[in-house]
């Protein structure tokens, strides 16, 4: 009896040790860390193996890519505070800019170092409604109607929500002869209809899909199609408005960190390989709009045509941030509480 106990005890310990060892995997020679925002989880999960294979073929070296995902602003903050990211792939240029402004981790001209404003993929802002679209939501103007309940993340904390906000703002300007007062009133009504303001895009999706909150979710186009894929096209519909914003999620090498870690070569290749045909195909498959013309053509039927305004036309991120999202900015003025 005693010996049996002893053996099983030993076996349990052995099994535990084996489990723990298994998790450490074969150690790669070098490791880079990609600090990214919320909805890119699936994209980089698929891209990383492709890149590892590419790097192996090119240099015979095995690398490992680690991922960290959270709200774009939070991630930028963490990198500034010392999270050792070799590359960042965030939701908007403003958050990347802070790496230069607050901590000089990257050069000032970072956005010119890679093609297309350093955005290997773009996206836009669309709506998801529950099947049947009972509230008849077709365009931005339908969101401000009484009794429509909206889910969007908080523009103060979420990069995606800032794109949402600016798309609505641009739409209101366009339809009101560029009157800022009218646009403010429009945005004010829109946020009055907000049922939840989650801190990040993924949190909003969860609120809308799993928790059953709201009639419409304003979100990234890629996130919207991912919802259809994960939760069933029989339950939700994607509604593409007549007009939206060209969202350009930028990527950059965090030079100071990559240099210090001796990872500059991998980090640079990691990002430029995002522009390759193979990577662009993965990008299209994950519902981001590819920047490569041929691949974009291949996925053209997946993305409806709509009129898109760019952030540059709205005066650039620094101005948008100062005007809308800083303390006492337009958002603070129009947002005075829910219903």
């Amino acid at each position: 009896m005693k010996s049996i106990n002893f053996i099983s005890y030993k076996q349990i310990i052995f099994a535990l040790v084996a489990l723990l060892m298994a998790s450490t995997q074969a150690l790669a020679e070098r490791t880079i860390l990609n600090v990214s925002y919320d909805p890119t989880r699936e994209l980089y999960k698929e891209y990383n193996p492709l890149f590892i294979k590419h790097w192996q073929e090119k240099t015979k070296e095995t690398v490992e890519v680690q991922q960290s995902h959270a709200g774009s602003g939070k991630q930028s903050r963490a990198v500034i505070d010392g999270l050792e990211a070799d590359v960042v792939t965030l939701a908007l240029a403003y958050d990347v800019d802070q790496l230069y402004k607050q901590a000089r981790l990257i050069p000032e001209n970072w956005q010119t170092l890679l093609p297309n404003n350093s955005s290997p993929y773009t996206s836009t802002i669309v709506f998801i409604v529950r099947k049947g679209n009972s509230k008849q939501i077709k365009d931005w103007s339908d969101l401000v109607k009484d009794g429509v309940s909206i889910v969007t993340p908080n523009p103060k904390t979420s990069g995606g929500a800032r794109w949402n906000y600016l798309a609505a703002w641009a739409y209101a300007l366009k339809h009101n002869n560029n009157s800022e007062d009218a646009a403010k009133a429009f945005i004010g009504k829109l946020f009055k209809n907000a049922a939840v303001l989650d801190t990040g895009a993924r949190g909003s999706t969860t609120s809308f899909v799993e928790r059953g909150i709201g009639d419409v979710l304003i979100t990234w186009e890629n996130e919207a199609y991912l919802v259809l894929k994960e939760f069933g096209a029989d339950k939700y519909e994607v509604v593409t408005p007549s007009f939206s914003i060209l969202a350009e999620p930028p990527v950059t090498v965090v030079e100071k960190v990559a240099k210090k870690n001796g990872n500059e070569d991998i980090a640079k290749e990691y990002l430029s390989y995002l522009y390759s045909k193979e990577a662009q195909d993965i990008i299209g498959k994950n519902f981001y709009r590819p920047s490569d013309k041929d691949i974009a053509a291949k996925y053209a039927q997946q993305f409806p045509q709509l009129e898109l305004i760019t952030i540059a036309e709205l005066g650039g991120w620094n101005e948008a941030q100062k005007k809308h999202f800083a303390d006492d900015g337009v958002f603070d003025q129009i947002y005075t509480g829910g219903k």
Partner: protein, 275 residues
């Protein structure tokens, strides 16, 4: 205690205590004070006095107050039932009261949100029957905080009820008091100090709670945004000074409460003549 000469280890024990306390608690906390000193008094007042910050203080303190009150009422009933009655499964139910101490707050938050969301087990029932939505409303915060508060109330009251001298009840009964009178005039006044302590304990814990609340609150500024969330938000917007100013204010209030709790405990001990 003149024995301090005899007992060994005063210097090493106190020395270690002070060094460790300083390293782990005091020095890290003092950074909050230093950072806040970079603000002028006017800036500080402007940050603390802003509408959104005030609203979040109202949400945090308001929901903690309501939750502590509800938890106190149910806590008294639970503690009473556990101490005075015996029934099948009492040991089991008594043991599970400590669950909120042991269950990680993030798990609690996700699970409570799952239960009370409009499609959840209870959420659907409440919405269909009474038209009340719990999750993602201020009510959701209260639910999460009640969960956090239960063990504080029950565990503070149980020992007091257990040690309560039943001869006092007998004396009152022999003088012709009714059960209700005995409860209100004899029992309740005796457990009241403990109840106050319990209330204060659960309140001070609830005010700072983060993990379980963010999953079930709607996080709408002015409506369901709690102070800890606002601190995180400010940090993410590179407003370190703003965040530390709010954090320091909260810390001071918490400290005040802790002090109050210690006073209450002292009073409770004196009143009940323990220790």
């Amino acid at each position: 205690m003149s024995q301090s000469q005899i007992m060994p280890g005063f210097r090493p024990a106190l020395g270690f205590t002070l060094v460790y306390l300083s390293l782990i608690v005091l020095i890290p906390l003092s950074t909050l004070v230093f950072k806040s000193f970079q603000l002028s008094w006017d800036d500080y007042l402007r940050i603390i006095g802003s509408k959104r910050v005030l609203a979040s203080f109202r949400v945090s303190f308001g929901s903690a107050l309501i939750a502590a009150a509800i938890a106190s009422v149910f806590g008294v009933i639970v503690a009473w039932v556990m101490v005075r009655y015996s029934f099948f499964g009492r040991k089991f139910f008594d043991a599970i009261i400590d669950l909120p101490f042991a269950l990680p707050t993030a798990v609690a938050g996700i699970v409570l949100a799952t239960i009370f969301q409009p499609t959840g087990v209870l959420g659907k029932f409440l919405l269909d029957t009474f038209g009340i939505q719990v999750a993602f409303k201020p009510l959701g915060i209260v639910i999460a905080l009640i969960f956090i508060s239960i063990p504080f109330v029950v565990r503070t009251l149980e020992p007091v009820l257990l040690e309560f001298d039943t001869t006092m009840e007998e004396a009152a009964a022999s003088m012709g008091a009714s059960r209700w009178q005995i409860f209100t005039k004899v029992i309740f006044p005796n457990i009241f100090p403990a109840l106050l302590t319990a209330f204060a304990l659960s309140f001070s814990r609830s005010v700072g709670e983060y993990g379980s609340v963010i999953f079930i609150a709607g996080n709408l500024p002015f409506v369901s945004e709690i102070v800890p969330l606002l601190i995180v938000t400010k940090l993410e917007q590179y407003e370190i000074e703003g965040a530390t100013a709010i954090a320091l204010t909260m810390l001071l209030i918490s400290f005040l409460f802790l002090f109050l709790i210690n006073l209450l405990q002292l009073w409770t001990h004196k009143r009940s003549g323990q220790l």
